[in-house]
Structures are given as structure tokens and as C-alpha cells.
Symmetry: C2
Subunit: 403 residues, 2 copies
């Protein structure tokens, strides 16, 4: 379902969407830094936002748009997070929204605003304004790649994906662009996730689907356990596919939600694999838990352990650190029933280390993609968490003096 070919089209894969990314001079690197995504007709909108009490100005502005249930466009910049910027920051986010609305000829409350980059600095509004005008002029059905590149910061590449599903005989398309890298507000990070679809769906159901899908996709990533002030996932559904409008939780709703989940899980894997300084992509499957929350807690405890992450950087099959992180997760577990596997090879069982083929385990540990299986043998629930290792490069990226 996650097509690499159509993924080049990203958010312009669904009918009726255009996008653009331009260089406005906000990033010190001079790279693309202002993105606009535009629907040629009114779209249902849904969004999920950072739970950080210190939310950035664009989060406040965009929450108000989502509350209206409809939108037409997304305007985003990288290089400056417009976070911890006080009343001026709120005014700047509102100005960014109005500039885009005027340029696009739509209402102010039709424009979602997002920012990512350095915290505590004011937006250079002259550059932002010129950038938005330039991006609106360049809007095209082939602009998704530029838009994707305009929202990245320390990401080493732009993440995009597409999928489709047939609803009532009509092909419904979905596209996504996202950025990740560090999970955080710091100088250079945030998760931004913009999804477009030509599905016709009620905005309330769209919100329910997005909120549920996020629990099993973006919220299952951990790079460093930090939560940004600017995190935002937005979906615009413009109905251009002409499917029978989804107004209840019927089979079409479930099929759409499934497609949305596949799209978001695919992008989650890409974000985790491109974590700051990552040399390994680690998938943690937890099963045998009493409920999903417990399974997720165990997976996140392992994913957030600096000692687990540095061990995988060192290609060290250190199951002791993994079972230790399982043990302190705060979830009831029996050390004698829990098993741990690396790449399918049992390394811990019945309370002790398991005998293993050292060559086979070395092949697992030296690969880029590593799967950790943890079975608590206590219930039927499971969860999957995606993470990466902790390298010298992570310390370098985040220990450099930016200010």
C-alpha cells in the first residue's frame, strides 16, 4: 500500500491538491524553508497537536482552524519555531495565516500554520511574507517534494508517502509529507506531519480516525523521549474522489482508517530510521501484555533507555539492558515468563540469558534494521514502537553551540 513511486507525489497525489516549497532565507543554510499546500476546494480538516504545556504560537492558531472543521491550505516554515515568543509570536503566526489567506484568496480561518526550527526567536516576517507569496505563485501538482524539503531541519532527507483505497467504487488517494529527526523543541527539531486525501468524509469522523491512527503510528516513535512545543499532524480531506461521503463508522470508514494507518505507520518508520545521528533502525514488538497501554509502556521504556540505545550503537547484544528496561517500566511482569529475542534469536528466557549462535546474533546486530521481540506471556495485547540508536553523532548534533 505504501508505494515508493507515487510517493514522489506525496501530498499532491490526491486529486485537487497543489504544493510548493521555496527559499525564503529563514534557514541559515539557504535551503528551502517555506511550504504551502493548497486544496482547490474546501476540505474537512482534522489535527492532533503537541501536549506540551509550552505550545508554540502556530499550534494555538492552527487549533482554532481545526475547531472550524474546514480548511483549504497549510502554510509552514522551517528555520524558526516561533515558540516561546510571547504576544509578538502569536501576532506573527496570525499574520502568517493572513498573508497566506490573502495570497490564496481564501478565508483566514481556512489556513493552517506550522513552524519548526530555533525556539525563542521571532519570525523574520519580511522573509516569511516574501516566501509565502513566492510559494503561492509556484503551487503545482508536482510541488510536494519541494514542500517536503521546505519543512525539514536536521532530517537527512524529506519523508513522503502515498496510498490509495477503493471506496464505493471510487479510488480514494492519500498522501503525506513529514519531518522528524529529534522529537523535540530544541534548536532544530519537531514532528510535522501533513496529510492530504481526496476522500469525502465528515470532519468529526476524520478527527476520530486521525486521533486513533496517531496512537498506533506517530505516537509510537521515540527518538529521544522529548516532546516538541511544535508537533502537529494535520489531515485535509477535500472530497475530490467522489466517493459516497463517509458519515458513519461503516466499512468505508474502516477501510479509509486502515489506509490512513498504513500511510502513517510507513512514515513513522521513516522518521525513526532518520533519527538524529541514527545508525540503526530498531523495531520493538511487545506482546503478551494485558492491554495496549502496558505493551506501549514497556516498548517505550526500552526505546527511551540511553543504555539500550548506546548498546545498539555499539552492536552489543546486551539483552541485560533490555530486560532491565522492561523491569523498571512499571508494568507487572514476571522475569521468569518474559522472553526477549533479537532478530528472531532468543537471548533471554526463563529468567536467564539464552544460549545462542554467536555468529548468527552478530549478523543481526551488525545489520541496519534490528527487530526486538519482547513477550511478557501474560495477556493478549501487543504494541510496536520504532526507535533508533544513540550515537556520537547525536551528541554532536545536539551538543553544538547554536545560539
Amino acid at each position: 500500500m505504501f508505494s515508493e513511486e507515487s510517493a514522489k507525489l506525496g501530498v499532491t497525489y490526491p486529486k485537487g491538491f497543489q504544493a510548493a516549497g521555496v527559499k525564503a532565507g529563514i534557514k541559515k543554510s539557504g535551503n528551502l524553508d517555506v511550504a504551502v499546500i493548497y486544496s482547490d476546494r474546501e476540505a474537512a480538516v482534522a489535527g492532533t497537536f503537541t501536549k506540551n504545556a509550552v505550545a508554540a504560537a502556530p499550534v494555538h492558531v492552527s487549533k482554532a482552524v481545526v475547531a472550524t472543521h474546514t480548511a483549504r491550505a497549510i502554510v509552514a516554515n522551517a528555520g524558526c519555531a516561533n515558540a516561546c515568543t510571547g504576544a509578538q509570536g502569536e501576532a506573527d503566526a496570525a499574520a502568517m495565516q493572513k498573508i497566506a489567506a490573502d495570497a490564496l484568496g481564501c478565508g483566514v480561518q481556512d489556513v493552517i500554520v506550522a513552524s519548526t526550527g530555533i525556539i525563542g526567536q521571532l519570525l523574520p516576517m519580511d522573509k516569511v511574507e516574501k516566501g509565502i507569496h513566492a510559494a503561492v505563485k509556484e503551487l503545482s501538482p508536482h510541488g510536494s517534494a519541494d514542500a517536503g524539503n521546505a519543512i525539514i531541519t536536521t532530517d537527512t532527507y524529506s519523508k513522503a508517502g502515498t496510498t490509495s483505497v477503493v471506496l464505493g467504487g471510487k479510488e480514494v488517494r492519500l498522501g503525506i509529507i513529514a519531518k522528524g529527526s529529534g522529537m523535540i523543541c530544541p534548536d532544530m527539531a519537531t514532528v510535522l506531519c501533513f496529510i492530504t486525501t481526496d476522500a469525502d468524509i465528515d470532519a468529526i469522523l476524520l478527527q476520530e480516525a486521525l486521533s486513533e491512527v496517531m496512537e498506533y503510528s506517530l505516537n509510537m516513535i521515540s527518538i529521544d523521549g522529548d516532546m516538541s512545543t511544535n508537533d502537529m499532524a494535520i489531515v485535509l480531506a477535500n472530497g475530490a474522489a467522489g466517493n459516497p461521503k463517509i458519515t458513519e463508522k461503516n466499512a468505508d470508514y474502516e477501510a479509509f482508517k486502515g489506509a490512513l494507518l498504513a500511510l502513517c505507520q510507513g512514515i513513522s518508520e521513516k522518521i525513526a530510521a532518520d533519527g538524529e545521528g541514527a545508525t540503526k533502525f530498531i523495531t520493538i514488538h511487545v506482546k503478551g501484555a494485558n492491554n495496549f497501554a502496558d505493551a506501549k509502556t514497556v516498548g517505550m521504556s526500552v526505546a527511551n533507555s540511553p543504555l539500550v540505545k548506546t548498546a545498539f550503537f555499539g552492536e552489543d547484544p546486551n539483552w541485560g539492558r533490555v530486560i532491565c528496561a522492561v523491569g523498571y517500566a512499571g508494568v507487572p511482569m514476571d522475569p521468569n515468563r518474559t522472553t526477549v529475542k533479537f532478530g528472531g534469536i532468543p537471548v533471554y528466557a526463563e529468567g536467564v540469558g539464552a544460549a545462542y549462535d554467536a555468529d548468527a546474533l552478530r549478523a543481526v546486530m551488525t545489520a541496519h534494521d534490528i527487530v526486538i521481540d519482547i513477550d511478557l506471556d501474560d495477556g493478549a495485547a501487543e504494541a510496536t514502537v520504532w526507535t533508533c540508536d544513540f550515537s556520537y553523532e547525536y551528541v554532536k548534533i545536539n551538543g553544538e553551540y547554536h545560539t
Copy 2:
């Protein structure tokens, strides 16, 4: 109260205690690795232990000793944690206890057992046995330094301290040795904390005092957020000071608890400052919280943020990462009322970055000891957390292939 001079005596500063540390060949380095601490008379005992569900065998054995309320000795080894070692590990911990009891001529249930080092490996019992016999022969009133060195792993130095308090006209002494470094079970870490005192105090009250003091000292340290399978704090009180026995929560109890707190806070600062790979010692004061738990949660959220820790390694006054970690701590906070200071210099106030003298702030950030003050301006409770930065060396220490 925390005397550096008498600290050389550590756990043998209180009357009636002897200690020793010997080389038994358990550590690959060949350094001291078996310690014994001995009281010449029966002592009240109290202990706090790791909450990790995957607790090591010596933790189980020592919990049973603490349940009897009396003990005479502590036997400990470094180089092998005897964790995740199954039934054989339990038998080995019990054997270690019996070997020491026989050599000391006391009961089996009088001996506390502790181990730290590599997880998942069985104790080399022949070496352990010879080491215990050698240590018992070397017991002396000047053996605390050797005992302290015999329990360290990746610590760069042994931690010790002493203090005293006059109770009912009698000088009551307290001594401590401890190890820290990583907070974890991994190959090479664990917090072990052994306290001796010649106070005469009821064991139940001793336990209450220890449990309360731990909440404000050892439990306020974070190196990397991991919790070891082997963590243990033990206090032996042998009554040799001849003070009026403390049997109720009177002024003597409060004075004794205060001395115990000073001792444990002093050692906590040393453990945090010697965190694996640490180049900075960071004290985080949180005030203006509604209760202690909230204040601690905020402090720990900041202390555990890899982005905060790498910023301090880079001497980057990145208040954005600090306020971000405050924001996602899960404690109610108003970004516009919260203030953050580095080394007494306001860096964040009224929702935005504060103007500061760059030279003065640079002097703060380049110092080894840095204080972060966070005022939530919402209540009267406060808490202090100690941590360190996150360096290349941390990744190196923990990313090296040990197995």
C-alpha cells in the same frame, strides 16, 4: 556537616565498625572487588531496594535480612551483578552470605549481600569465597577506603562521607560509602550505598528515617533515567555511641534524620558529578510547585532530557530545551508565569527569552558546576534534582562491546 577529613574513614568512622576491600580476581582490571563491612555488635538494619521487577539475587537475599531488623555485616562484590542468573544465582547469593557468616562467626541472617557489575553472568564462586576469607582477615578500622574501592565499577573514584550529631550528650557518628556512575543494570553500573552509624535507634524508626531520606537524596539523582536491577541502600546502626535509644519520633530522631539526610545528599551530589562520561555537575532547583511530587517530576523531566544534557555538554545556554522539558513533564504549568535561571541569571520569563549579559552567562555555562532554577510560581513546594551532562564519553562507555 560533611567533613572531607573524617570522610577518609567512611563507614569505619562510627564506633565499632571495621571494613576491608580485597582483590579477588572478579574484575577483569584486577582491581579491588570484594568488600566486607562488619559491626562488632548486633546492629539495627534498614534498607531500600530497586523497584525493578527484574531484581538481582542479592536483592532478594538482603531483603530477607532487613526483614529481621538486625544484622552484623555487609559483603559485596563488583565485576559481576549476579542478576538474571536464575536459580543458580539465588544459590550463589545465599552461598556468599553463608561464607561470610561462617568467616565472621555470625548468623547467616546477619549478613547483607550485594553485587554489581556484568548482568547475566554467574558469580565465580571460587574467587568470591577466597575474596571473602581474605577480606575478613583484613578487617580494620581503616579499611573503608579499600571497601569503597572494591564496590566501584565505571565510577572514576570511590565516594565516601561522614557526619556526626550530638544526641543526649553523646556524639553519634555516621559514615557512608557508595558507588554510582550509570544508574543502571547494564554491564557496568548500579547504585550501592552502605551507611554505618553508632546511633542506638529502633530498627523500625531507622527504616522510616532511611526511606524518607532516600526520597530527598539518592532518589533525586538521575544520570540516564535507567534503574538498576541491583540498587540497594543499607544502614547498620550498632548503638555503640551510647546515646539514649531512639524509640519514638522525638527531637533526637529528627536530629539523627537530619544528619542522615546531610550525609546522603552529600553522597548524591558526588554520584551525580561522577556520572558516566560527565563533564558537568548540574543541580536543578524547582520551586513554586503545588507539591513535592510535582516539583520532582519537573526536575526529573529536565534532568532526563537527552537534549538538555547534550546542550550542557556543549555549554549551550539553550533555555528552550529546558522550558520544553518543563512543558511536557505532565505537571500543570503556566508558560507565562514560569521562570528559568542558569547560574542565577534569568534566561526565560513571561513566556519569552529574557535579555541577559552574554559574557556573564558564558561564565556560568563554561563552569563545571551549574545550577538551574525553575520557578513555576504556582505553589509553595520545591525539590532539588542532581544530574550531569551527556557527552561523547557516555556513548563511548556504554557503546563499547562488552560481551
